[in-house]
Amino acid sequence: MPTTTAKITISNDIASTPVSATKTMYLYKEGSGTEGVDTMLSASKKLASETAVDLVAYTAAGSATHNFLYINNPSTNAKEYFIISMGDTPSSDVEQIGRLYAGDWMMIPWAASSAAYDVFIKPSVATEMTVEYMILS
């Protein structure tokens, strides 16, 4: 049974008293405290349009309804960001999660139980941008 961990370390020196948070999680399957995720999809894509595209369809996680999604914007250009949304179609019925700016990454639990959980991505510029992502199920 695979063992997969994800550790986050936040160093927050914004306030006068710094706050740090460090947390390591085990990536378990739904409702299990012992059975680790055992499938992985890792990809890198290049996008050259400002049009929103379905980056990850809910079917990418198979039938699992508890998954982990990691997305990274490796750009170093501050003007290059991705708008990350979740929902059924990019033109409507989607909820914008946030903007993934250059150098930013995100990691979320991902229910992926229906098309309402498709993940859309919209580049800020039409020049080529690269996105990296990973699904662990």
Partner: protein, 138 residues
């Protein structure tokens, strides 16, 4: 400046070990300037299965700007989870010991970040932190 680092490791999920390390510097939108406001780390106990707003959207000040959310479920009971939702869109479940970190657009007045316990009658400890730019956040 504030930073967020992830180390994703597995020795056996694939034929070869997986080891990803990535550190981001938390900057303002379209800028190399660091974020300058934060809620600090907040701890609450979630006891109901109905959604509870932990971060109210400040869309008039936050839209188009940079904000990062960290949430973790501190429960030690592997059956206890919290559902993380933005507006009416659930993202997924955080089981005991698990965390999430994501950017937050605050696109409109309804873009609150919400959580709900897996069932009523639970006492699930949750910590969260927001790092952002803008001027006033409730």
């Amino acid at each position: 400046m504030a930073t967020a680092a992830i180390t994703l490791t597995s020795a056996d999920i694939a034929g070869d070990p997986v080891n990803i390390s990535n550190t981001s510097t938390l900057t303002k939108a379209d800028s190399h300037m660091g974020l300058d406001q934060t809620t600090g780390l907040t701890k609450i106990i979630v006891t109901t299965a109905s959604t509870h707003v932990i971060l109210p959207s400040q869309h008039t000040l936050g839209t188009g700007k940079s904000a990062k959310v960290f949430i973790t479920n501190l429960s030690a009971n592997s059956t206890e989870f919290i559902t993380v939702t933005i507006n009416a869109q659930p993202l997924g479940k955080l089981y005991a010991g698990q965390w999430a970190y994501f950017p937050w657009s605050q696109l409109d007045a309804n873009s609150d970040v919400k959580i709900a316990a897996s069932a009523a009658g639970k006492s699930i400890p949750v910590e969260y932190m927001l790092m952002h730019e803008g001027y006033e956040f409730a």
